[in-house]
Assembly symmetry: C2
Homo-oligomer: 550 residues x 2
C-alpha cells in the first residue's frame, strides 16, 4: 500500500469547487444561443437555448427555496428526456439539493419504496405519469408536494392529488435572479437507484465532484467524443443513470441537444434524427433493434447520423455489423454501471491497431473497451488474487475511481468494497492491450462440472443466426454436471429454424462442451425496466425444466 | 456574490486525490506497450514504452529519496523534449517533490536567479547544456548536485563541476520497487517561471489537482483533441509551460509520443514527422515558419500529419492558410499563458457554423477561440466594468478557473487577482458566440490621440504581403498624437518591396488612421527565449526615432 504524506508546499492555483452549476453557467456564457430541442410529452417540438435553460433553472431554484427545500434535501423526478427535466437537473443539484431520478417503468410499489427510502421532499413528474402518482401518493411518507411538469390548463381536472403543484405556475411566480451557491464539491448532487434483480433497490449517491470529473472524462475522444459540432440525441433516458452523463457532458461542449421525450418507437426516433440532423446518439441495444426494424421495413437510410454509443448490455456483434456496414454508423461499445456514474470503459482503437485488417479491428471493437482515464480495473479469482491480462483468463471484475461509489446510500448492504475496489458482479477477460470483455454476470454464469460457461457468447452466436430475433441462455439443473446451458429463442416474424439447425450453428464457433443441451422457442423474453433481460425470471420459470440430456 | 453553504449530505463516491502519478500508472497498466520515441541529444533515435517510462520514473523516485529529496523540495530540469525528461516529469512530481523546468535559452544570470529563487535542491540537465551549468554553478546557492542526463562515458572529462552526478548511474543503483505516495491533491507539483519582459521572472506553482483537471480539459475534442489513434510530436518544449500539458495529456490517452530533442530545424523535424508517422503536433508560429520554409524549398508534402495546435503568440492568418490550403493541415488556434497551465481558449467551430461559407468559417478560426470548459473569461474597461461581447468592443481580458494561478510563487508581485479574476495583460474582443480575439498586449497597444490602436492586426496585414518574412509594429512618440505606429519589416530573401507599396497594401483593410506612419526595413527582429517578439527591445531601440509625420 502507498503511504499518505503531508505536504509542506501547496500549489498556488485558484481553488474553486467542482460544481454542477458551473456547467450551465458555462453553457449560458459561452454557448448561450445554442439549441436544446425537445419533443414534448404533449407531442409537439419545443425549441429554446442554453441561455433559456439557465434562466428557467434559476427560477426553479428560487421556487424550490420558496417551497422550503434545503441543501441536501432530495427532490425526485419521474420524467422523460425533455427541457423541463434538464432544468430540474440544474435547478435542483445547482441549488445544493439532491436530484433523485426515478425510473417510471418500475412497479409502483417499488417506486413508493424508493421515494420513501430516499425521503424525497418533492416529486416532479410528466403529466403522462399521473396514474403512477395516483398509485404511489397513498404510500409515500415524506413527499410534501407533487409538481406536474406542464401548464395549469394541461392538468386533468380529476387528478385526485391534494398536494399537486403546477411547474409552470411555480416558475412564473419565481424570479430568475439567483446566484448559484458555492459549497464543498463532495456534497451529494444526485441519487440513482439500481434496478436490482434481487432484493430492494439500492441508491448510488453521486457528488458534484464525481459528476464533474465524469463529465470531463466522458467527452474525451476515446470516451463519447462529444464536440461542439455534434447534435446529440440521448435515447438513453434521463432516469437511467443520468442518461449516461449526457445532460452534463453535452452543455459543456456547446453541442446542440435533442431530447426525444416519450416517443422512443422506431418511426418517431427516425423522424427526429432526420429533422434535427442528429450526428450522435446513445442507447441500449433494444432501442436500436426497434429503430433498425422500422428502417429496414421502410428501406430508409440516415443522412447525418454517424456515431453511436451502445451500452447498458452487450451489443450483439450482428447488430454492430448492421449499423456499421449497412448504415455507415460508427459504433462505440461502452460499459459501465449505475454505481460507476456510469462510464467505465469504451471501445476505440489505438494507434498500433490502425494497420490491422478490418476483421481484427472489428474483433477489438466488439469488446467492451479499455478503461477511461480515471477508472482502473482488474480481474480476480474467488480468493481475490489478480489474474493475468491475456484475453482468455476470466475472473471477477473489480473497479475503482473517483466516479465510483464507495458505499450505497445510507450504507445499504454495508461495506461493499473489497480492499478499496468495487466488485462489479461481472465476469470478464482483459487482454494484453487493456481491452476488457464481459463474459457474463457472475450470477448468470453456468457452472458445469466445476467449470464456468459464459452465457453472453452463447447468446451472441444464436443472435447471429438470420432467423433469430433475440436469445437468452440460462443454466438449468443437471444431475451429472450440476448445471447445463438451455437456450431460449424468439424467432423473427415469419422466420423458421429448428432446434437441430440452431445447435448445428454452434459447431466450430465454441468449445463443444459449451453447446447448449436444449433449445426452447418462446414468444417473448422478459425485459426489465432498464431494457435488460431478466434472467432470474427465466431461471424461475425454467427451474423444473428437464433437459433431454438429464 | 454567491454564498458558501455547508452541506449536510456528502456524496458516497470514492475519494481519491487527483495525482500526477495516476497518469503514468494508467499509461503503464492500460497502454503499457505503446511507444515513446525520442530523438536523443546524442543524435540517435531511442524507443521504449510507457511501461519502461514508468519503471524508470520509479527508479528515479528511489534515487531522489536516496539523495535526500523530500516532499515539496524543488528539483530543476534544463532539458530538451526526451524520454529522460518524461521520467523527470513523473519521478519528481509523482514522489511529491516539485518539478521545476527551466528555459535554457535564458541568459545564464537569469537562470541562476531563478534557481536561487526556487531554492532548487538538484538540477537535471542534458549534456549539451554543460556550458550553462559551468556558468551558473558559482552563482547558485541551494543546489546540492547537478545530474547529467546521460551515461557515465558520455560525460566530458573536464566538466569542472564538483558535485556532478550521472543520471544513468543513479538509476542503475536504484530499485524500481516504489509505491507512489498519496497526498493532498492541492500539493505543489511543478513550477514554471514566466519570461517576463520587464522585472524579474515570477513563478507559477501548479498543483496536482490543477494539472489533472487541465489534462482532462486539454484532450477534449474542442481543445487539443488527442486520441489513442494519434501520434503526437510536441515541438513546444517541455521547459515551456510543460509543453502545453502534452507530457500529461498524451500518456492518459495511450497515443504514441514522439519527442524531437534539440533538433528543431525544418529538416530534422520534417524527417521525424514522416518517419514516425506523426498525426498531431503543437508549437509556436516561428517553428512552423522554419518547417514550412524547408518544405517549400524542397517541394515536400506530409503523408500522415493532419492537425496542429498553434499558440504562444497569434498565428499569422497567412501561415494558417498555407498550412490548411497547401498542406491540408487543420490548424487549431489556441491561447493561454504560463499562469494558466497554459490552456485558456481554442478555436474550433460549433454546430451552427457548419453550413457557413468557408470564408466565414476561416474568419472564426482565426480568432483565439472559445473558453475551454473550466476557464471563464471577461473583458473589462480600465475601471473594471464588464464590456459587451459584440466582437468589436475591446478591453482588458480577465480569466478564472481551477488551473489558473491565484498568486505567484512566494507571493511575488503581491495580490495579483482583481476581484477573483486573473488579469492577463492582453487586450481582446469577445464576440456573441464566445470567440475571443487578442487585439494586443496591453503594454503594446499604441495610444494615438486618446484612442487605442492594436498592433497585431497591423502586423498580420504586413505579413500577408508576399515579400514580407516577419513584421512588428510599435508605438513611437509623436508630438501631436502622443504615439503613432511604426512598422518594422524583415523582407524575405531576394524579395523587394518599398515603404510606399507596403503602406498602400493597408488601404481598405483597416481604418485609415490606423495606417503606420512609417516603415523601417531591418535585418532581423529580436526574438525572446520562448519565441516571442521582444517589443520592449524594439521600443528601446527606436525611442528617439523621428517619424516623417512628426
Amino acid at each position: 500500500m502507498s503511504e499518505y504524506l503531508k505536504s509542506p508546499l501547496m500549489g498556488q492555483m485558484m481553488r474553486q469547487p467542482l460544481l454542477i452549476s458551473s456547467i450551465i453557467i458555462h453553457a449560458d456564457r459561452h454557448f448561450g444561443d445554442n439549441q436544446i430541442v425537445s419533443r414534448r410529452v404533449e407531442g409537439d417540438i419545443y425549441r429554446y437555448t442554453y441561455r433559456d435553460c439557465h434562466r428557467r433553472a434559476r427560477k426553479l431554484a428560487n421556487a424550490l427555496k420558496t417551497l422550503g427545500v434545503k441543501m441536501g434535501d432530495r427532490v425526485a423526478t419521474l420524467a422523460w428526456n425533455g427541457y423541463r427535466h434538464m432544468e430540474a437537473y440544474y435547478g435542483i443539484s445547482g441549488s445544493g439539493a439532491v436530484l433523485h431520478t426515478i425510473n417510471p417503468r418500475l412497479h409502483f410499489e417499488l417506486i413508493a419504496y424508493i421515494a420513501n427510502h430516499a425521503e424525497d421532499a418533492y416529486l416532479l413528474f410528466d403529466a403522462c405519469f399521473l396514474p403512477i402518482i395516483q398509485a404511489i401518493a397513498p404510500l409515500t411518507k415524506t413527499i410534501k408536494g407533487y409538481i406536474v411538469l406542464c401548464d395549469r390548463d394541461q392538468i386533468p381536472q380529476d387528478h385526485k392529488i391534494p398536494n399537486l403543484l403546477c411547474y409552470e405556475e411555480l416558475l412564473d411566480a419565481s424570479s430568475d435572479d439567483y446566484a448559484w451557491p458555492l459549497f464543498d464539491e463532495n456534497s451529494a448532487s444526485s441519487l440513482c437507484y439500481t434496478s436490482g434483480t434481487t432484493g430492494n433497490p439500492k441508491g448510488a449517491l453521486y457528488s458534484h465532484r464525481s459528476t464533474l470529473l465524469h463529465s470531463y472524462a466522458s467527452v474525451m475522444p476515446d470516451s463519447l467524443n462529444v464536440s461542439g459540432r455534434d447534435t446529440v440525441l440521448p435515447v438513453v433516458p434521463m432516469f437511467h443513470v443520468n442518461a449516461w452523463g449526457l445532460p452534463y457532458a453535452v452543455p459543456l461542449t456547446g453541442a446542440k441537444l435533442v431530447l426525444p421525450g416519450a416517443a422512443l418507437d422506431g418511426k418517431s426516433l427516425y423522424e427526429l434524427f432526420e429533422q434535427e440532423k442528429v450526428t450522435f446518439s446513445a442507447g441500449v441495444p433494444t432501442v436500436w433493434l426497434g429503430l433498425l426494424t422500422y428502417m429496414a421495413q421502410n428501406k430508409l437510410t440516415f443522412s447525418t447520423f454517424k456515431r453511436t454509443v451502445i451500452g447498458g448490455s452487450a451489443c450483439p456483434p450482428a447488430m454492430m455489423k448492421t449499423l456499421r456496414n449497412q448504415y455507415g454508423i460508427e459504433v462505440i461499445h461502452a460499459w459501465g454501471m449505475t454505481e460507476m456514474s456510469p462510464l467505465g470503459t469504451s471501445g476505440t482503437l489505438q494507434n498500433k491497431h490502425l494497420l490491422l485488417p478490418a476483421e481484427q479491428q472489428e474483433a477489438i471493437l466488439q469488446k467492451q473497451g479499455h478503461a477511461i482515464f480515471g477508472v482502473d480495473m482488474k480481474i480476480v479469482d474467488d480468493d481475490g488474487n489478480a489474474l493475468p491480462w491475456d484475453g482468455t483468463t476470466y475472473g471477477n471484475l473489480l473497479v475503482k475511481g473517483p466516479w465510483i461509489i464507495d458505499a450505497y446510500f445510507k450504507d445499504e448492504g454495508g461495506d461493499v468494497l473489497e480492499d478499496g475496489w468495487f466488485p462489479t458482479g461481472d465476469v470478464a477477460t482483459i487482454d494484453h492491450d487493456g481491452y476488457m470483455q464481459i463474459t457474463d454476470r457472475s450470477k448468470d454464469v453456468i457452472k458445469s462440472g466445476g467449470e464456468w460457461i459464459g452465457t453472453i457468447d452463447l447468446e451472441n452466436i444464436a443472435m447471429a443466426h438470420p432467423a433469430v430475433q433475440i436469445a437468452a441462455c440460462i443454466g438449468v439443473v443437471h444431475p451429472k454436471w450440476d448445471e447445463r446451458p438451455l437456450l431460449l429463442v424468439v424467432r423473427k416474424p415469419d422466420a423458421e429454424v429448428t432446434k437441430e439447425e440452431l445447435l448445428a450453428f454452434y459447431e466450430g464457433k465454441i468449445a463443444k462442451w459449451w453447446t447448449p443441451d436444449d433449445v426452447v422457442f418462446v414468444e417473448a423474453l422478459p425485459i426489465g425496466a432498464t431494457g435488460k433481460l431478466l434472467k432470474n425470471k427465466l431461471r424461475e420459470q425454467f427451474k423444473d425444466y428437464i433437459l433431454p440430456t438429464a
